[in-house]
Amino acid sequence: MATPTLDSPVKQIQIEGLVVLKMIKHYQEEGQGSEVVQGVLLGLVVEDRLEITNCFPFPQHTEDDADFDEVQYQMEMMRSLRHVNIDHLHVGWYQSTYYGSFVSRALLDSQFSYQHAIEESVVLIYDPIKTAQGSLSLKAYRLTPKLMEICKEKDFSAEGLKKAMIGFEHMFEEVPIVIKNSHLINVLMWELEEKCTVADKHELLNLSSSNHLEKSLQLLMDRVDDMSQDIVKYNTYSRNLSKQQQQKHQYIQRRQQENAQRQTRGETPLPEEDVSKMFKPPQPPPRMDTLLIAGQINNYCQNVKEFTSQNLGKLFMAEALQGHNS
């Protein structure tokens, strides 16, 4: 999804191990199933590198405490953190995801407002399910400048998007992530690895169940349905539009003919300005959602591809091993 050349101020992200662990912990404590947890990232920008050094979660708020002031809470939190000498600059936010479904209008809007206010801010997407299977999945995304512009203008019509030359692949840019730990921690890690028994490593060849794939497919299918609907909507719209255009055209022609006749008879021509009033163009359906869905579908496809390629690799490996044994 990421474009190879980044034209944004942030070219790399460096995350403290602490942040990663905190995020994982947050999800494990509060997130369940398809529920999503969110939090604030803190850190600072060094040259073209964004260093994320700490984070704190947004509290899960339910219906009954609607009057909970989130801004107030964040300010409090940041002040408190500052008191204990932790970076207190807001540099973005993080969000967990359920089978990679995160490309949504809500994400777009909040990331836009973040990026609008704080230019270098990013969104970290953490996939707990993949992580649970053994490979940490953490991605950082930013909106592309093009998308930023469109969002600023709030012009989501087909023409606007076309003019901006934006497709689903140009909506987000992925920023590479580096996880950095203090040297002490690295030492500890090494030590732990030494102690690790071989048995645990056998897991590597374990074919993960198809459950994951099924879920992904299910979600993918849902999105495809949505997409179809959108397309049908757009289809009707464009058909209506063309029909109306035709009517309008006919009307104008008739009016012109009439006027010509009137002129020959020496009467005053009829006014022509009421055409646009008579034919109100149908409301064009917003295309942004479609774009987002396309992005999401792309995302799912990537996921599935990744997953299957891994599994296929394992299968071939196993086959090779078997052939070797026998």
Binding site: S210, L213, E214, L217, Q218, L220, M221, V224, D225, M227, S228, I231, V232, Y234, N235, S238, R239, S242
Partner: protein, 874 residues
């Protein structure tokens, strides 16, 4: 003269109220009064006994008064309201009425009200002016009273006759300034009646306060009563005159009527006698009663046309002339149809007495029957029982005559003037008329009677007993026409016969078929000699019609009836073949509604037959159309559905009502639905099991699914009560492969009571289901013999329903799971959806290009892999 009527009602109400006046306030002021009035003392007890009647009657009269007032001011809604109350009150006083006879003032009101309403109805202008409420009330009231008056027809007609008679008398002879006609009645009566109440009311008020006033009012009352008595006696005199006058008119035909009336009178007298003992003190009322008895006598004295002058020699021509004279009145507005029938009867008697020969008799009989049919002006109304009896008798007699005299030719095409009615030795009689039409009409009347009788009453059973007679008549006619009639006529009469046969189950033949092995030879012979099978009859009649009939309708009906009959007797293959050969399915929608109803009935019967034979699929298909519409009742002509009024008006409703099938021919709807649901279940559950993973499961039966859903939605599952619940419960257990519970759910006592004794085949279908799901320990589970299981499984393997192989030595089935996994299924679905997506997308593109269908023309096509294309071991 009209005064008589007016006062009649008044005196009645008056006397009752005067008697009443004491009873209600007995505990109060009257006690003191009674101590003073010694003479009253002993009466008191008697009055208490009578009080029930009086109270009722007073209630009635009060209501009547209000009605009359409302009539005067044309307040229809008020009128309607009061009338309903009156009906209720009258119903309440039923016991008394039974004892005393219908009170004349009540009848009077009914008659007047009807006349008044009719008058209003005719008055289009006035109706327009009426406000909406009133107009509505008018129409409802009119309908109501019409219906209501039917029960009191004789009384009302007698009343009307008298009134008519007397008014004409008045109008012509007397110099009174009354204008004859109903209007004057209407005006007069209420006026007279209104005059009565004031003293009454004041009485009530005052009597409680002071006794003197009450006693004076009592006197007042008595005055009034004597007054009425006088008027009554006066009227009696006149009445007597009238009667004698009528008798002069009557001469011949009156004899019977007179006997009738005298009998009635005697009865009246007897009744009155009894009453007399009780009501000795009310002599004046007695006199009035006398008057009443007197005018009842006039009933016979309908203004009949004089039959023949005294000295005329009665011969054929005279009788024919007379007959024509009578017939000319037919259909005219003022004609009294009952009287006409009487006249015709009389004429028949005359011709019989004078030995004018069968020709004329036949002719008269024809006309009697025709006028019997004409009696009801309304097409929707049905014959009354006595009329019906006479009609049947007449037809029977007519047939007798026709059978006994071979030399009578009848036919529609014989012209009036070429008729030969006189007795001549050389020439046969030629009479115009069509016996077949008469019988057909009779049959229709019979249907009408059955339609209009409450099917759950004894009356219906009684009426149904006439069916035998109807059939007998048709049979006789059949015999007659077979020798004399044209093929067309024979076809028609055959169809009638078929119509009366096809829906009856031939128990005799059935028993014979069953008992063929068990019974001894001689018994069989005896039974066989009793009569031919209905199947055989049907076959013969229908084949004749197939061969000879030229009108399509009769043949269609015959085919349908034939199929129905086959189906009813479980001859599935014959029924089906006939149905398929007839190609009726293609053009039945062009037929008229009765034929369509017949078609529906046949289809349903066919479905039930298939079910009985274990052809579940056929049963389901046959019943699907009828059941899925949800209007089975209507489609089978077994009742109207409640629908919005705007969807059909009263006229349509009447037509639809006429189409209804009589109750004894009904197909049990519950049985029908049950059969349908069970067959749907037997099809659907295996299907559901087999196609569990299909993306888009097709429903075999929507209704069944609906029932299932309803069953699932129930928060609390009790033991099944209704038929539907049984089926749902059964299908649930069937889903679990629990054959035995399923069976017991469907066949148990509750269901048995619902005509459910035709079910041998559940087992083998049932087994299919669970087989697909699981395949263990088959024999124990289904209690089937090993070979049976073996054969079923083999069949399934051959049909590729079951991917498995039989392992003979261990007696197990080895299942090869080849169902695509859910993941594969999902992938397939996804592919399908993507195909749709692409197509939609292309359409947008096309729109932009302005070329429709361009995508498919461009040569590359997205290939969607459907399930069938996937190899089994994918």
């Amino acid at each position: 003269m009209s005064r008589f009527f007016a006062t009649g009602s008044d005196s009645e109400s008056e006397s009752s109220s005067s008697a009443d006046e004491i009873t209600p306030k007995a505990p109060g002021a009257t006690f003191t009064k009674q101590s003073l009035l010694l003479s009253d003392d002993e009466e008191d007890t008697k009055r208490v006994v009578r009080s029930a009647k009086d109270k009722r009657f007073e209630e009635l009269t009060n209501l009547i008064k209000t009605i009359r007032n409302a009539m005067k001011i044309r307040d229809m809604s008020k009128c309607l309201e009061e009338f309903e109350q009156l009906c209720r009150a009258f119903l309440k006083s039923k016991t008394i009425v039974d004892k005393e006879g219908v009170p004349p003032f009540y009848i009077r009101l009914l008659a007047d009200l009807e006349d008044y309403l009719n008058q209003l109805w005719e008055d289009k202008e006035g109706k327009k002016k009426m406000n909406k409420n009133n107009a509505k009330a008018l129409s409802t009231l009119r309908q109501k009273i019409r219906k209501y008056n039917r029960d009191y027809e004789t009384e009302i007609t007698s009343y009307k006759e008298v009134r008519l008679f007397t008014t004409t008398q008045n109008g012509s002879s007397s110099d009174s300034d009354e204008v004859p006609g109903a209007k004057s009645f209407l005006k007069k009566k209420p006026a007279a009646e209104v005059a009565a109440p004031p003293p009454d009311a004041s009485k009530f008020l005052k009597a409680a306060a002071d006794k003197e006033a009450s006693s004076s009012s009592d006197e007042d009352d008595e005055d009034w009563d004597s007054d009425t008595a006088e008027s009554g006696s006066g009227s009696e005199d006149e009445e007597g005159k009238n009667a004698s006058m009528a008798q002069i008119f009557l001469k011949k035909p009156g004899s019977e009527a007179e006997r009738h009336t005298s009998e009635k009178k005697k009865e009246d007298r007897k009744k009155r006698h009894r009453r007399k003992e009780r009501l000795e003190e009310e002599a004046e009322e007695e006199a009035q009663e006398e008057g009443e008895g007197e005018w009842e006598k006039v009933k016979g004295g309908v203004p009949l046309v004089k039959m023949f002058a005294k000295g005329t020699e009665i011969n054929t021509t005279v009788v024919v002339k007379k007959l024509n004279e009578i017939l000319q009145a037919r259909g005219k507005k003022g004609t009294d149809r009952a009287a006409q029938i009487e006249l015709l009867h009389a004429l028949a008697n005359i011709s019989n007495e004078n030995n004018l020969g069968e020709g004329i008799l036949v002719k008269i009989k024809f006309n009697i029957i025709a006028s019997l049919y004409d009696y009801n002006p309304n097409l929707a109304a049905f014959m009354k029982a006595d009329m019906w009896k006479t009609c049947l008798d007449c037809i029977d007699e007519l047939l007798d005559i026709l059978f006994n005299n071979n030399n009578i030719f009848i036919g529609e095409n014989i012209a009036e003037d070429s008729e030969n009615l006189a007795i001549t030795d050389s020439q046969p009689f030629r009479v115009r008329g069509c016996i077949l039409t008469l019988v057909e009409r009779m049959d229709e009347e019979f249907t009408k009677i059955m339609q209009n009788t409450d099917p759950h009453s004894q009356e219906y059973v009684d009426n149904l007993k006439d069916e035998g007679r109807v059939c007998g008549i048709i049979d006789r006619l059949l015999g007659y026409l077979e020798t004399k009639g044209s093929t067309e006529e024979v076809c028609r009469v055959y169809l009638r016969r078929i119509m009366h046969t096809y829906y009856k189950f031939d128990y005799k033949a059935h028993r014979r078929a069953l008992g063929l092995q068990g019974e001894t030879k001689s018994e069989q012979d005896a039974e066989e000699s009793e009569g031919e099978d209905s199947a055989f009859i049907m076959d013969r009649l229908c084949k004749f019609i197939y061969a000879k009939d030229r009108t399509d309708r009769i043949r269609t009906c015959a085919i349908l009836c034939h199929i129905y009959h086959h189906a009813l007797h479980s001859r599935w293959y014959q029924a089906r073949d006939l149905m398929l050969m007839s190609h009726l399915q293609d053009n039945i929608q062009h037929a008229d509604p009765p034929v369509q109803i017949l078609y529906n009935r046949t289809m349903v019967q066919l479905g039930i037959c298939a079910f009985r034979q274990g052809m579940i699929k056929d049963a389901h298909n046959a019943l699907l159309d009828i059941q899925s519409s949800g209007r089975a009742k209507e489609l089978l002509g077994q009742g109207l559905l409640m629908r919005n009024m705007q969807e059909r008006n009263a006229e349509q409703e009447k037509i639809e009502k006429r189409r209804q099938v009589p109750f004894h021919m009904h197909i049990n709807l519950e049985l029908l639905e049950c059969v349908y649901l069970v067959s749907a279940m037997l099809l659907e559950i295996p299907y559901m099991a087999a196609h569990e993973f299909d993306a888009r499961r097709r429903m075999i039966s929507k209704q069944f699914h609906h029932q299932l859903r309803v069953g699932e939605r129930q928060p609390l599952l009790g033991p099944p009560e209704s038929m539907r619940e049984h089926v749902v419960a059964a299908s649930k257990s069937m889903k679990m492969g629990d054959w035995r519970t399923c069976h017991s759910f469907i066949i148990n006592e509750k269901m048995n009571s619902k005509v459910w004794d035709l079910f041998p085949e559940t087992q083998c279908v049932c087994i299919n289901t669970p087989l697909v799901q699981l395949s263990l320990t088959l024999n124990e589970m289904f209690e089937l013999e090993l070979p049976t299981v073996h054969s079923i499984i083999s069949k399934m393997i051959i049909n590729e329903e079951l991917m498995a192989s039989l392992d003979q030595p261990t007696q197990t089935v080895v299942m090869h799971r080849t169902e695509p996994t859910s993941l594969q299924n999902m992938a397939l679905q996804l592919a399908e959806k993507l195909g749709g997506l692409v197509e939609n997308n292309e359409r947008i593109f096309d729109l932009k290009q302005g070329v429709y269908g361009g995508y498919f023309n461009r040569g590359y096509r997205l290939v969607i892999i459907t399930r069938s294309q996937i190899p089994a071991d994918w």
